[in-house]
Amino acid sequence: MTLTLILLAIAAVLFFWGMGAYNNLVTLKNQVQNAWSQIDVQLQRRYDLIPNLVESVKGYMAYEKGTLESVIKARNQAASALESLDKTGGPTEGSMKEFLGAESSLRGALGQFFALAENYPELRASENMKMLQEELATTENKIAFSRQAYNDQAMLYNTAQQKFPVNMIAGTFGHHAVELYEVQDQEAKKAVKVSF
């Protein structure tokens, strides 16, 4: 009788502990997903802006066809990497690596494009161009700022999974470490400088 009671008590404690740990992980996971979707919105916005940008400079920069094409190519790659990342259920290991690689080459192509655009005074004066430039600048900034929030949330979620004894049940309920959105070199950490 006493033994049964003790066992029941232990089972109850374990159950309530498990429930708390489970709910905590779910909350954290949702927060990570929310933070990621904030980035996602801004990334999509940028992928939409880039074709407009290229379209509106084509007339001015006829001789830089190669650069424009590489911007579009890098943009398409990054966009499809983001798409497959979203399909596979968020920023997990493999898909994140591919996305970060594609993003980094897009940044490189954009940087090159803006460096070249400095040589075209009529382009700098164009109202339409100024507007696109501002849109791109603010999107870059928003990506940079939401990345910070996302990384903070991802860190919290990962730490909660790794701590003992939660680490014994986390995998069972489908929780896995999420990847941080890290930008490698110090210069690239700042938003791409969108200016002429």
Binding site: Q38, A137, F145, Q148, A149
Partner: protein
């Protein structure tokens, strides 16, 4: 050695609590003084031992302060912005500068994790900006035309981030509370002055009741003035401390000290001062016209603020801001 931001924030909160406590104590002491003074001058008025005038003084002050505070609360930031003559900017605007301003505000609201406030523009050529509203959800950020025209994108971002710093550090709630208390004292002073005027006009000093009234008004006027004077000094002292913290928050949100530093430099170099001369809201924006120099200034000297930013005072190392 950089001073710890969190420690400084804690210290600022501590001082603010202390100042408010001091305010309340001073009011109580003043109420006792009022009572004693009246009893000394007119001993025969007191048929009861209840301190009528002292209680009246304290009661009036707190009632007016509470009323004023509730007023500030319900009005929100937009009310303050509009009452200073600012107009709201929306994304439907066609002006690229205004759209850029909205973009910047949106960026910083992402960086700070706070809701997007209403944005206002004040038609003044000097560079200035302020945040008003007691909670993040009722906050409004206002910038002047001068700031919009003179500052570049990076500097404007720094200024907006500074205003968000005020919102996230809860500075508006505190300064509004202090402003409400100061208003309470001002009200007493004002009423007493009115009564003095009226009774001197009607010329009923001869009667005994009139005498007490004049005397009471005089004492209330003096007490109210003294409290208003010290209250204003305290209000300014609290406000000054919080400017440094808002500057540090600007660096925290933008991870870029250059924006706010260059903006402050531009402000230091300008000569126009034409912000509205409105006592109740004057602590929101900087204005160096107030007399008695340092004591009444709600903002520290720009040189000191720039120096604090350059020294990375208040900026903790974990923000990874290169020095």
């Amino acid at each position: 050695m950089a001073m710890d931001f969190w420690a400084a924030q804690k210290r600022a909160r501590y001082w603010t609590t202390l100042y408010i406590a001091l305010f309340v104590i001073l009011t109580a002491v003043m109420a006792v003084c009022v009572e004693l003074a009246l009893r000394a001058f007119s001993p025969d008025y007191a048929e009861t031992s209840f301190p009528i005038f002292g209680a009246l003084f304290a009661f009036l002050t707190f009632i007016v302060a509470a009323f004023q505070y509730l007023n500030f609360r319900t009005q929100g930031g937009s009310f303050v912005a509009r009452s200073l003559g600012a107009r709201e900017v929306r994304f439907t605007s066609k002006n690229p500068k205004e759209l850029q301003l909205l973009n910047i505000v949106e960026e910083i609201s992402i960086a700070s994790g706070m809701p997007m406030p209403s944005v206002y523009i004040l038609n003044k050529p000097s560079i200035n900006a302020f945040a008003a509203g007691l909670t993040p959800s009722t906050a409004a950020v206002t910038v002047t035309d001068g700031a919009l025209d003179t500052l570049n994108r990076e500097e404007l971002q720094g200024v907006i981030a500074h205003e968000f710093g005020h919102i996230s550090n809860g500075d508006m709630a505190i300064s509004m509370r202090l402003a409400a208390l100061v208003m309470g004292f001002f009200f007493i002073l004002f009423i007493a002055l009115r009564i003095l005027r009226i009774s001197s006009l009607t010329g009923d000093q001869g009667k005994k009741g009139g005498q007490v009234l004049v005397l009471a008004s005089l004492v209330f006027f003096l007490a109210g003035s003294v409290m208003w004077f010290f209250g204003s000094i305290l209000k300014s002292a609290v406000s000054r401390e919080r400017e440094y913290l808002a500057d540090a928050s600007a660096v925290q949100f933008t991870r870029n000290p250059d924006g706010i530093v260059n903006a402050l430099r531009k402000i230091a170099n300008e000569t126009v001062t034409d912000m509205p001369d409105n006592g109740a809201y004057s602590h929101l924006y900087f204005d160096d016209r107030t007399p008695f120099s340092g004591l009444f200034h709600t903002h520290p000297p720009l040189k000191k603020r720039i120096q604090a930013l350059l020294n990375r005072d208040y900026i903790p190392p974990e923000w990874n801001i290169p020095s």
